[in-house]
């Protein structure tokens, strides 16, 4: 099974989840007459579920097309072309983790104290190995932004429990 087929199946699953679960639970249908347990609206244009349902059906149809399109490819083509597997570098996962940590720290300790170490860590993750450059940029840039945005332009930056100057 190719990558596209797997993605197609996931998309079909998402569409079914939307149709049977997320839309009925996530969107109210006020004003509906409940006939046999199914809400029926007199004026369908008033239904908040109408457009999401249409989109969900369309997503399901395209998901099926994506899956079947791959399955019906000529065997010759499947032998000749090998679709590269989606490869995710560990570095990318680490950087995602670092940025999630940055998000959590931002609201807790504030912009300046969170950004300085995080910028340094990110630069190291992206391959910078000169500690002088890392420290210089990681300290100078957030400070500069803090002064220009926070003190001169008086834009409110994220604050936390640690005091700002």
């Amino acid at each position: 099974m190719t990558q596209d087929s797997r993605i197609g199946i996931v998309i079909i699953g998402v569409a079914l989840l939307l149709y049977f679960c997320l839309i009925p639970l996530g969107i109210e249908q006020p004003g509906a007459e409940w006939k046999g347990g199914i809400g029926v609206l007199k004026n369908v244009a008033l239904s908040a579920r109408l457009f999401p349902i249409i989109l969900t059906i369309a997503i399901g149809v395209f998901g099926v097309s994506l899956t079947l399109g791959d399955l019906f490819k000529k065997r010759k083509m499947l032998r000749e072309t090998s679709e590269p597997r989606m490869k995710i570098e560990y570095r990318t996962l680490i950087i995602i983790g670092v940025l999630v940590g940055y998000y959590l720290l931002l609201s807790r300790i504030g912009y300046l104290y969170a950004t300085i170490p995080m910028l340094g860590i990110l630069m190291y993750c992206f391959g910078m190995r000169s500690w002088i450059k890392i420290i210089l940029v990681a300290v100078t840039l957030p400070l500069l932004l803090y002064l220009v945005l926070g003190k001169i332009m008086l834009m409110p930056l994220p604050t936390g429990i640690l005091p700002m100057f």
Partner: protein, 506 residues
């Protein structure tokens, strides 16, 4: 009208607006020159900072970034054989050989003139046509508008990316994300549980934009080889011959027909939603090659091969604004950002802008010409000489800074950590979309158009009492429906034929 135009120029010719353009142009040039960034990412990073700016400052600032990134991208294509933006890929084919011959100055000069002429041409066409298209659009009812939006979204979904199905899926997901929040007609929450009350106002467009373009690019760059992070590239030296370092008037004159023709191609293609510079440049180059007396010189440093794509991809700038201003449908992702910026200021792009906000329209026109003039002066005065150093910036420095800007910019729009979380989630989502071959622009543009699309659809149904035939009984609506079916059918057939072709044996 002359008074309005004069007033518009005067409104932009104030120190603050000029200052914003003077700041935006070098930002855009540097961003464009750095491979991996581009106009949309540049605008996405800086749009949050325009939130507190007046409209007459914010829009010129963003337009300045947009226009100058294309120029910056072409510079790195010529000097380093690395297109800074996708549109610069065609420029590289003749620009880099010229630079290798020691004629980098000539290449940069001709590129600058071709860009300026292409830009001015499309700006003039925008000014002449926009008001007429807007008048036509005023006659559209909800059914016609909905059919037009579906047609536009089908173009956006099919022309961006390599797979029609994935492009359409991206557009559909964008429309679905736009339904999060309060229902616009009856006011019930949709996909917004009470425990996450921030969802009631829907996903913030800026957070989505910054995440999908800016943050996802950071993750994509993180995937690249470590060596890519050390931008050490050989810098090409110029020839000692003065004639090789500049474009002569004779050379420019010989390219004027080519430049005008390519500018018209770029304008026409740019006016079609989603068909942007990355398509226009190749078509213009192809036409120039077929019309050339020396087609064999293309790819070896031909001035025609350089001027044609440059004029075309610059002409796209003004043309992209035509559907945005007249119909409210962005021509491409950067135009979508301009649309978002206008909406942030309480101005809804569309035909009613020409009635209620003519001052904004004329100011926008005026700023287009002023931006061109400033790009020209900055390119000549310092950028062309120093671009080679920006291109060599280590990525290990650039992308962490981009990430921090993404966080800070998103927070500053609404002072909301929820928006920052949205941005980060969208960044991860965008990363996986790109890894699996799904294009981002259809998702973003569909999200922007989602509210309008649903409103028109439901308004049409209310008028018809729930009868879908309203979309087929109106001649204009039927026209767009048929056009959509023909377009989707043609593109699907072409893709199927492409995929059915046996792979050539090597």
């Amino acid at each position: 009208m002359l008074t309005a135009i004069t007033d518009a120029f005067l409104s932009v010719l104030n120190p603050v607006s000029i200052g914003a353009i003077l700041l935006g142009v070098p930002i855009g040039m540097v961003i464009g020159a750095i491979p991996g960034l581009g106009g949309t990412i540049g605008m996405a990073i800086f749009i949050p900072f325009t939130f507190t700016m007046p409209t007459a400052v914010a829009i010129p600032f963003l337009l300045a970034i947009y226009r100058s990134t294309t120029y910056g991208g072409s510079v790195s294509a010529i000097l380093l054989r690395i297109p800074g933006t996708p549109e610069a890929a065609a420029t590289l084919l003749d620009g880099y050989p010229l630079a290798k011959q020691g004629k980098a100055g000539k290449a940069l000069g001709l590129m600058l003139y071709a860009s300026m002429i292409g830009d001015v041409l499309s700006d003039l066409i925008l000014i002449m046509l926009a008001v007429h298209i807007a008048k036509m659009a005023m006659k559209f009812g909800p059914a016609e508008y909905f059919a037009l939006l579906v047609f536009s979204l089908s173009i956006i979904g099919t022309l961006t990316g390599k797979s029609i199905i994935k492009g359409m899926l991206a557009a559909l997901f964008g429309l679905l994300l736009a339904t999060i929040g309060m229902d616009p007609i009856i006011g019930v929450p949709r996909f917004a549980p009470l425990s996450i009350f921030e969802l009631c106002k829907g996903l913030d467009f800026i957070a989505l934009l910054v995440g999908l373009f800016g943050m996802s690019e950071v993750f994509i760059q993180a995937d690249k080889e470590m060596a890519a992070f050390f931008g050490s590239t050989k810098i090409i030296e110029d020839s000692p011959n003065r004639e090789d370092r500049r474009t002569s008037w004779t050379e420019l004159k010989s390219q004027l027909v080519n430049i005008f023709r390519s500018g018209m191609i770029g304008t026409f293609i740019g006016a079609i939603p989603a068909a942007g510079g990355s398509i226009a440049c190749w078509i213009a180059r192809g036409v120039a090659e077929r019309s050339s007396k020396h087609p064999e010189k293309f790819g070896t440093g031909s001035l025609e091969g350089l001027a044609a794509p440059e004029a075309a991809n610059s002409a796209v700038h003004g043309a992209n604004l035509i559907p945005l201003l007249t119909l409210g449908i962005p021509g491409n992702a950067p135009a979508a950002v301009i649309g978002a910026a206008l909406m942030m200021k309480g101005i809804v792009p569309g035909p009613l802008m020409f009635q209620h906000h003519t001052d904004v329209i004329y100011s926008l026109y005026a700023s287009l010409f002023i931006i061109n003039a400033i790009i020209f002066t900055q390119a000549v005065s310092w950028f062309n000489r120093s671009a080679r150093y920006f291109v060599s910036f280590p990525r290990g420095l650039i992308f962490p800074v981009v990430a921090i800007f993404c966080f800070l910019g998103t927070y500053l729009v609404n002072n909301s950590m929820f928006d920052v979380a949205t941005m980060l989630i969208m960044g991860v989502f965008g990363y996986f979309l790109r890894k699996t071959g799904f294009p981002i622009p259809p998702l973003v543009m569909a999200f922007l158009l989602g509210g309008m699309t649903e409103n028109r659809f439901r308004q049409a149904l209310k008028i018809s009492g729930g009868n879908l035939s309203i979309f087929f009984t109106s001649p204009l609506s039927l026209f767009f429906v048929v056009l959509t079916i023909i377009f989707l059918g043609t593109m699907t057939f072409r893709e199927w034929k492409q995929r059915s072709k046996p792979t050539p044996k090597t």
